[in-house]
Structures are given as structure tokens and as C-alpha cells.
């Protein structure tokens, strides 16, 4: 069953077979279940996936179970059932095998980095080299300090270095162990983009020689596209999609993924006409029989041009924050889509007001408190929704 879920990555397969001298072999396969009791309701993490050598992005909202998943692979949390293996080497196989953390050869860079604050940068990096002779230890640590450009910080205490330097130290400390798998729990979340890009480059360079699976956790859409060769989407403890970032994020196959990607409004649509000269096309969305009983006329939307001719079935995603709301018919607009409708509900969440508007389909719109108050919006009011062409995101149907 798990075999069918492997998504081959061209280019990484050869990297694996070339590595005859390495102690590791191949990918990480994990299929396990962990129930985490809590007072409100138990959280259940149930996953089945494989990560081939190279970057695999683990994407999901906070609370989706990403860190717990990494903790299970590292051995910090023990699953209730299942199996975790790297290549042929079993790390966990309920109930017979449960390799201790220290013997798993799983590198783990925590979200908090967990540098030893009382030790110097060099002592942190050399921490795992205790079994070696002194010269080897110094040589190993020095090589890693240089590879991650922190040799000049060697004698500084870990508590006294900057955020970016800490991230580099944490990576170097983990990679010097020559792990079979690398787990990165949003280790670069706090960094600015250029610093992050440099560290990622160094990491890619390192992995060119080592070819191990790197599981990289993030909740940032940008990082998924920037890093990913492959992405696994986790939602409420379950894997809801996996594939290339483009497949998963640009053309969400499931509404959960789309919602993670930020589309509150998702509709099935059919291409009505294409206008290559304007770079647009017109799609029609079938009226929702619940929202508009008896209505037969479809909702017409102008959208950006994508592949697929007239009659192609697509899905349209529109972010609730991208929609403008007007209390009288707007004129003189650049936006091409103006949909008349009626507010069915208004609900305040923190500083955002969520309005549902029946414009023959149900459309969710996000407003500020000030906008609601100055327009004196109430349920039942007649409104006009304004949607820019390029706010309509097309996905494969």
C-alpha cells in the first residue's frame, strides 16, 4: 500500500545508487500511528509516507502534527504502532524494535535549535565526536565550522551569537554526526530571505556529497516553493496530499490543501470562452442550488488565461481577503468581475469580520472592523462583490 505513494524524483535515484561507499542506503519510510491524549480531545497522528534522498517539505498549519511526526522519527516520542525504517535499517517496528534516540543516526535540528548555551560554538559542533581521538575531533569540527562559515565564532559561547549564526551552528552540530536522515523543524523560520537562501545553498552543497533524505518542516507557502523537490501536506495529523510543490500547491487536489494554501472560496468551473489576445478567459460557475434555489444562470468570472480550451473543467480559488465589497453598484473600475449579492451572515473573529455573501454561489469575504462599521453592514444588505481577474486562481479540476 505504501509503495503506491512513492513519488519518484528524477535525479535523486541515481544519487542513491552512486553512493556505494556511504553507510546509508536510500530513503526514509515511515508508517505509524500515535495518539496524544489531551484534555480537550485526543490528537491522532497517522501517517504513511516515504522520503527519498533530497529535500522533502513537510507542510501544514500549526497544530497539524509536524513536530510530533519528527519526534517519532527521532525516537523522542514512541508511536503506538507502525514501522519506521531508513533503507533496510529498522528504527522502529512495533512492538519488537525501538532503537534508542542515541543510536538512530537521525539528525534533528529543533525549532528552538537547542544549542548548549554553556558550551562554545566549537564545543557544540564537536559534541557528538566524543568517541574520537583529540586530533580527529578537532579536525572534524573545524571542517564543519568552515563548511558552514562559522570558524571565526569557534570560541564564542553559543548563548552569545546571533540568530543566523545559531542556525548555522545547529546545522553544523547535527551534520557532523553524518546522519542517515536529517530532520529540520522550521530551523530557518526566523531568518531574512537572503540569509536563509545562503544557508539552504550550503545545506544543498553538503547533501550533494551525502545524499540523505532531508525532511524540512514549514508552514510557509514561500518556503515550499523555494526549497521543495517534493512536498507532503499534513493536516490534523493526516497526510492530505503529496507530490511536487507545483502539483500540490498550485493545483490543489483537495479542498484541505487549498484551504492551507489560503483559498477560502473554491468552485468548480467550466471554461466558457478564451481570449488569448487579452490574456484572459471567461469561466462559468454553476449556481449553488442551496444558495440560490431555482436559479439557473451561472456566475460568470473573468480569469487569467491558462492551458485548456473551451469546455475544460477547472477549479477556481479566490482568497476571502482579495474580494472588495461595495454597498452600491460600483462604476469606473479596473476590476472585471462585479457580482451582485446579499449578505447572509457577518461574524467577527478577532479583528477580522467574515462575511458570507450569496451571489448565487456562497462567497466568503474578509473585512476589517472599520469597513464593517463605516459601511454599516448587516446581514440581509444588498452588496456588490468586486474581484480582480488575477485574484481568480485556477486549479486543475
Amino acid at each position: 500500500m505504501s509503495d503506491t505513494r512513492i513519488l519518484e524524483q528524477p535525479g535523486t535515484a541515481t544519487a542513491t545508487s552512486d553512493r556505494v561507499t556511504q553507510t546509508t542506503s536510500g530513503g526514509l519510510s515511515a508508517a505509524f500511528r500515535k495518539r496524544i491524549p489531551s484534555q480537550a480531545h485526543a490528537f491522532i497522528l497517522e501517517v504513511d509516507f516515504q522520503a527519498m534522498p533530497g529535500f522533502t517539505i513537510l507542510f501544514g498549519a500549526s497544530g497539524a502534527g509536524k513536530t510530533t511526526l519528527l519526534d517519532c522519527i527521532a525516537g523522542i516520542v514512541t508511536p503506538d504502532s507502525g514501522r519506521i525504517a531508513v533503507g533496510e535499517r529498522l528504527l522502529f517496528d512495533h512492538p519488537r524494535v525501538n532503537v534508542p534516540i542515541a543510536k538512530r543516526r537521525v539528525g534533528y535540528v529543533f525549532q528552538s535549535l537547542a544549542l548548549f548555551p554553556h558550551l562554545s560554538v566549537e564545543e557544540n559542533v564537536a559534541y557528538s565526536l566524543a568517541g574520537l581521538r583529540r586530533e580527529e575531533r578537532v579536525a572534524g569540527a573545524t571542517a564543519m565550522l568552515q563548511a558552514f562559515r562559522i570558524a571565526h565564532l569557534a570560541q564564542r559561547k553559543a548563548r552569545d551569537i546571533s540568530g543566523g549564526e545559531s542556525q548555522r551552528t545547529a546545522l553544523a552540530r547535527t551534520l557532523v554526526t553524518d546522519p542517515d536522515v536529517l530532520l529540520l523543524d522550521e530551523p530557518l523560520a526566523a531568518l531574512d530571505a537572503p540569509t536563509k537562501a545562503k544557508i539552504i545553498d550550503d545545506l544543498r552543497e553538503w547533501n550533494r556529497a551525502h545524499g540523505i533524505p532531508i525532511l524540512y518542516v514549514t508552514h510557509s507557502r514561500e518556503e515550499v516553493f523555494a526549497l521543495g523537490e517534493r512536498v507532503v501536506v499534513l493536516d490534523a495529523g493526516r497526510i492530505v496530499a503529496q507530490g511536487t510543490p507545483h502539483d500540490v500547491m498550485s493545483a490543489p487536489l483537495q479542498e484541505t490543501v487549498a484551504q492551507l494554501a489560503g483559498f477560502e472560496n473554491i468552485f468548480d468551473a467550466v471554461v466558457e470562452s478564451v481570449h488569448p489576445e487579452r490574456g484572459t478567459m471567461v469561466c462559468k460557475i454553476m449556481a449553488n442550488p442551496v444558495a440560490a434555489p431555482g436559479a439557473s444562470a451561472p456566475v460568470i468570472l473573468e480569469t487569467p488565461l491558462v492551458r485548456g480550451g473551451v469546455g475544460a473543467a477547472l477549479r477556481v480559488g479566490i482568497r476571502a481577503g482579495d474580494i472588495l465589497l461595495a454597498t452600491s453598484p460600483p462604476v469606473g473600475l479596473s476590476a472585471r468581475n462585479v457580482l451582485p449579492g446579499r449578505i447572509t451572515s457577518l461574524e467577527q473573529r478577532d479583528v477580522i469580520v467574515t462575511a458570507h455573501v450569496n451571489c448565487r454561489v456562497d462567497m466568503e469575504v474578509h473585512l476589517t472592523l472599520a469597513a464593517r462599521d463605516s459601511l454599516e453592514l448587516q446581514a440581509g444588505h444588498e452588496v456588490w462583490l468586486v474581484i480582480k481577474t488575477h485574484s481568480c486562481h485556477l486549479m486543475q479540476g
Binding site: I76, I101, A102, K103, A114, F116, L119, A130
Partner: protein, 226 residues
């Protein structure tokens, strides 16, 4: 000066031996309390904390019974050394260790437990054994707690009275400590002598605690200077 220097030397000797022994015994006990997941752990914690609330005479009474010639330990000790443990310096050491146990174990355990669990997990993922994690990460980050525990057990032993009286009696040069000397003087209406001895003990204990708290005000202490 009518200070009984013999009692002072004896008390210092007792305090040094007891706090050293408590350091050795306290570390594993505190480690277990801080990290064990045993569901009945709280029972052991309660036992360790007992000497804080128990009247010293109660503790002293049971120690006396346990060390006496009718108990297993007492008989074993007699067969080993030829005399009983009660009313000896060795008996005093055993009673004092039990009496000061929580003053060492509780600061140790509190500082172990406050070490970031992620640091401990990180040490394990880097291949370190539990023992190596302890002496490279947990212990160095717990130095303020270790110092506090050692100093408190030392100071507490210096000042103990009830257990000493029950277990050791009042034998000059063997079991007569400073606090018993003070009591004796008051009983004999030697208020001037009692005052001198008491003042010296007060100053000593204050100096010790001042040094400990001053030491722990370093930036890496548990609650640093703000």
C-alpha cells in the same frame, strides 16, 4: 572567651561529611525524581520531603530505634565494629544525612527539571549516553542548584538540634555539637556564653548563605540579575 571550640570543630566536621555524602547520594535521587515517569513517584518525593515537616524528635526517635542494638542495622553494625551506632559520631552522621536529605535533593531536582528538555533530547540525537548528557549538559546547567543544595545541607546540619540530641546525646568531643552546647549553657543560666556561641553560629550561617546567593547572582543563574 568561653566558646567551646571542640563543639565547633565537631559540628564543622559533621557538616562537611554530611554535605559531601548528601552530594553523592542526592545527585542520583534528584535525577530520578526529576526524570522518572513512574506513576507512584510522588510517594518517594513525599518520603524525601518528610524531614522538612517532621518534628526532629520523631525522626530522631526512629533513627535511634533503627540504629539500636535490637534492629537489624544495629546488630550488623555491632557485629562489624563491636559497639552500637547510637550515641556515636557515625550514628550522628547517619541521622543528619536523613534529616538534611530534602535540603540537598530538592534544589538538585528542581534545577535538573528546569533544564530545557529539548537540550536533553538534542544531546541524545547527537549520540550521547544518559550519563554523558548528565555531566555535559544537565549538571553544568544546574550549577546554581547544586551549589544551593550543597550549601543548604551544610548549613542545615550545622544548626540541627533535635535529631542530634535524640541520636547522639551529649557526649563532649563525640556528639556534642554547637547547638547542644548552646542549649546546655542556657540550661545552666550561662546566658553570656550562650550568646557568644549563638552569635558566632549566626554569623557563620549568614556568611555561608550570603556567599551562595551572591554566587548564584551570576548571569547564568536560575534567576539572573534583571
Amino acid at each position: 572567651m568561653s566558646i567551646d571550640w571542640q563543639a565547633f570543630r565537631l559540628t564543622l566536621e559533621l557538616a562537611v561529611i554530611v554535605s559531601a555524602a548528601l552530594f553523592v547520594i542526592g545527585l542520583p535521587v534528584a535525577y530520578w525524581i526529576a526524570f522518572s515517569r513512574w506513576r507512584w513517584k510522588f510517594l518517594i518525593e513525599a518520603v524525601v520531603a518528610l524531614p522538612i515537616v517532621l518534628p526532629p524528635t520523631v525522626l530522631g526517635f526512629y533513627v535511634l530505634v533503627a540504629l539500636g542494638s535490637r534492629s537489624l542495622i544495629g546488630r550488623w553494625w555491632i557485629s562489624l565494629t563491636g559497639h552500637t551506632l547510637a550515641f556515636t559520631f557515625s550514628g550522628l552522621v547517619i541521622g543528619s544525612i536523613l534529616y538534611s536529605l530534602p535540603f540537598a535533593v530538592q534544589p538538585f531536582a528542581a534545577s535538573f527539571a528546569s533544564v530545557d528538555r529539548k537540550l536533553i533530547a538534542a544531546s541524545s540525537t547527537l549520540g550521547a549516553s544518559a550519563f554523558r548528557t548528565f555531566y555535559r549538559v544537565i549538571a553544568p546547567l544546574s550549577v546554581p542548584g547544586l551549589v544551593t543544595g550543597a550549601a543548604l545541607s551544610f548549613a542545615h546540619t550545622m544548626g540541627e538540634f533535635g535529631v542530634v540530641l535524640m541520636v547522639g546525646g551529649n557526649i563532649p568531643g563525640v556528639t556534642r555539637t554547637v547547638s547542644i552546647d548552646i542549649y546546655d549553657r542556657v540550661q545552666a543560666s550561662d546566658y553570656a556564653g550562650a550568646n557568644q556561641t549563638a552569635l558566632l553560629l549566626l554569623i557563620l550561617c549568614f556568611a555561608l548563605l550570603a556567599i551562595v546567593y551572591g554566587f548564584n547572582r551570576r548571569p547564568w543563574a536560575i534567576s539572573p540579575l534583571k
